[in-house]
């Protein structure tokens, strides 16, 4: 086995055998699933306390139209003043409706609450009152059969994007693509930061306990650096692949089991494009999301592409981290220099947000070509389905960026590992590059 292979093996085995690695690798997906599912389960089981609103209706025409729901109960106020109504038992809030609410263009409602009020309560109230006012105003036009007309006029459309330029007509939900893109960007961001810093701290440690000098008397410093970077990259890939497999298994088996049969029928209907068969109980967006999540092939191809960008992005960034780690003696000194790696990663994250909102825009395009930001920005765009040539070009540029960075980092590393004491300046780092 080549020496670099021996170094890779050591770096890989040392990390994979750690208990903390095994635990996070297995626990994380379960935890994430729990985070997604738990709120829904809690919502089902915990009967959230209903808010009781005492209504002082000065216009006399709104209160009869207000409908109480599970979470919101309306009561006619028996008291004349807000203060006395508020202190009554069982009353959480008082709603005051002005006299001119039907005639005024912009009327203001007053809502006095004993405690914090939720946005959903407020939007529920304004929504109901808007509906009542609209129908009351319509009534003044004296149209016959108004209710029937309104019922037949009512519409509830949903948009499903079908990519015409693709061979297979797969339906796409933009919201879902956005969510997946952002999620993958965050995974990438975390991996680049955590694993990149792992490379850095491990170099600082080797330098600190002087084992480095023993190792470089057997392998070239550049080989040791590459061995470490590749070894840690393999650990990251191992983790991602395990998570990918777990996710795929959950999508294929767990999801159908968790989702009620009628909802799954809706999913099937949406996937075949028959929206009229969908029972109106569920939101079409959610159904589409579930449909895409259940598409195991799609998930796997997304994770595979993300892994490719993760590997190349990691190789690029970890060379920066390696150069920083080699040039300082301790973590404290490193913090300032790590900004060379951390800032571009954060910029990448910000541009990824922009790209996810507008995946075909020019900002998204150029930032997904620039090697330092491309891993995160590209991963945010990929779920929307972008041309293959863009992905390939981005990867080629990223690989070129990585090679240039490794060369530079290797030069700094080779000198830095023997420099103890003073923290080097940027100028000194640049001078190291020119050493023989």
């Amino acid at each position: 086995m080549s020496k670099i292979g021996i170094v890779i093996e050591r770096e890989y085995m040392e990390r994979v055998k750690k208990k903390s690695f095994i635990i996070t690798t297995i626990i994380m997906p379960v935890l994430m699933l729990a985070l997604m599912v738990l709120p829904a389960i809690i919502m089902n089981f915990v009967d959230s306390s209903a808010t009781t609103v005492s209504v002082i209706d000065n216009s006399k025409c709104i209160l009869p139209g207000l409908k109480s729901s599970k979470s919101l109960t309306f009561l006619p106020a028996t008291d004349a003043t807000v203060d006395s109504a508020l202190i009554r038992d069982g009353v959480d809030a008082v709603l005051v409706i002005p006299e001119n609410i039907l005639t005024a263009n912009r009327a203001s409602l007053k809502f006095y609450s004993n405690g914090p009020s939720s946005i959903s309560t407020e939007s529920d109230i304004t929504g109901q009152i808007n509906d009542i006012i609209e129908s009351e105003r319509l009534k003044t036009y004296n149209i016959n059969n108004l209710d029937q007309i309104l019922e037949s006029v009512k519409s509830d459309v949903s948009l499903t994007t079908v990519r015409a330029d693709k061979d297979s007509e797969e339906s796409n939900s933009s919201a879902f693509s956005y969510g997946v893109g952002i999620a993958m960007t965050f995974v990438l961001y975390m991996f680049l930061l955590i694993y990149g810093q792992m490379v850095m701290t491990s170099i600082i440690e080797e330098k600190g306990n002087r084992v480095l000098e023993v190792v470089v008397s057997s392998v070239k410093p550049a080989q040791l650096m590459m061995g470490k970077i590749v070894g840690v990259a393999l650990v990251a890939v191992t983790q991602i692949l395990i998570w990918g497999v777990l996710l795929a298994v959950m999508s294929a088996y767990l999801l159908p089991a968790l989702i009620p049969a009628d909802a799954m029928a809706d999913v099937a209907a949406v996937q075949s494009g028959h929206f009229d068969q969908v029972s109106d109980t569920s939101s079409i967006e959610i159904i589409q999301a579930v449909g895409m999540l259940g598409n195991v092939g799609h998930i796997i191809s997304l994770i595979a592409l993300m892994t490719v960008f993760l590997i190349f992005g990691f190789l690029l960034y970890s060379s920066i981290f390696a150069a920083v780690g080699s040039s300082v003696d301790n973590i404290q000194d490193a913090s300032q220099l790590t900004s060379f790696a951390v800032f571009p990663i954060i910029f990448g994250l910000i541009f990824a947000m922009v790209a996810a909102a507008d995946p075909m825009g020019s900002v998204a395009f150029w930032m997904s070509m620039f090697p330092l930001t491309s891993p995160m920005v590209m991963v945010a765009r990929i779920p929307f389905g972008i041309p293959a040539w863009e992905i390939i070009l981005s990867l080629v540029l990223l690989a070129a960026g990585f090679l240039a960075m490794v060369w530079l980092a290797g030069k700094i590393y080779r000198v830095g590992i023997f420099m103890y004491g003073k923290k080097p300046t940027i100028k000194e780092l640049m001078r190291w590059v020119s050493y023989k």
């Binding site: 023993v214 190792v215 392998v219």
Partner: protein
């Protein structure tokens, strides 16, 4: 035959010149001392020999050819600052280093077992390095250095951190390796160990080679024509009397009987007989013998002279 030749090697860092045109030849099968004050450039030279850094100019010849990366498999290096992976198990770690030096896994394990048994540390195999004491870790490190039976061994301060018993064990092993055909380069400040085990030395001061050669010859030549006189009487009178014939006087510690001792250098051309009679007229001579300088004296004197020349 010389196993290693360093020819006109120079190396500069941004702030200073670490090596200035240094040349030396290390004969095969000998113990070669590399001496010099702290910061003289020894470690830089060792790193160049280990192919860790490249010289700015000059070259290193190993077994007759220019040193390459492949040659490091025939070199074993024990750095002054010892270091092992703290979280790794002793056995795994030793196997790792052995494989880096070109041994197969099986060979590494077999050889390691032999050495671990010899040093009576087989029970440490599955311990983590951080559980070992400093001296224990040193033993492991020594084994790692010599395991692949290198033709050239480089020890940088090998005895530091060892207790006298283990230091003696180590010295024995180093000499045994030499007998088995290995060449040893030995960098140290411990001059008595240089006298004991080195055949040849090079003294580096301020980046330059200021003294090279066989230890016995250097000791004889460097301080040649020097004598210690043990006497009773006035030292000042003695020095005045000897003045025409000798110089460079230094008063030594009195001997066990409390008699005074003076070290002097006999001038070229002056006869020892004349000096003795001159001394005899002024003091009572109790004894006179030729002084053989210790490596310690040579080291201090050579470095002082070199520094004086430069000022």
């Amino acid at each position: 035959m010389d196993i290693l030749q360093v020819e006109n090697v120079s190396k500069a860092y941004s702030s200073h010149l670490a090596l200035d045109n240094v040349s030396l030849n290390v004969p095969a099968g000998e113990v070669y001392g590399l001496l010099g004050p702290n910061g003289a450039g020894k470690t830089t030279l060792i790193r160049i020999i280990n192919h860790i850094t490249a010289p700015d100019s000059g070259r290193v010849i190993f077994e007759g050819h220019q040193l390459t990366q492949a040659d490091v498999e025939h070199i074993g290096y024990l750095p002054e600052e010892r270091g092992l992976y703290k979280k790794m198990k002793v056995g795994e770690q030793a196997v790792f280093f052995a494989r880096l030096k070109g041994l197969s896994k099986q060979d590494a394990v077999r050889e390691l077992r032999k050495w671990f048994e010899k040093f009576d540390i087989l029970s440490w195999w599955d311990k983590k390095v951080e559980e070992l004491s400093k001296g224990m870790a040193q033993k492991v490190q020594f084994i790692v250095t010599v395991l692949h039976r290198p033709k050239l061994l480089i020890f940088d301060e090998p005895f530091s951190g060892f207790d006298p018993i283990n230091a003696a064990l180590l010295k024995e092993e180093i000499l045994k390796l030499k007998d088995e055909g290995s060449t040893v380069i030995f960098s140290t400040h411990n001059m008595s160990s240089v006298e004991e085990i080195c055949d040849n030395i090079t003294l580096i001061n301020k980046s330059r080679n200021i003294l090279s050669g066989n230890v016995d010859e250097i000791r004889r030549q460097y301080f040649g024509n020097r004598y210690d006189i043990t006497f009773g009487g006035d030292a000042r009178t003695l020095m005045e009397r000897l003045q025409p014939l000798a110089g460079d006087f230094s008063l030594l510690e009195p001997d066990a009987q409390g008699r005074q001792r003076l070290n002097f250098h006999l001038n070229d051309g002056a006869s020892l007989r004349d000096a003795i009679s001159a001394a005899n007229e002024s003091v009572v001579i109790a004894g006179l013998n030729e002084s053989i300088a210790s490596m310690n004296d040579i080291f201090i004197r050579a470095v002082k002279e070199d520094s004086g020349n430069q000022v």
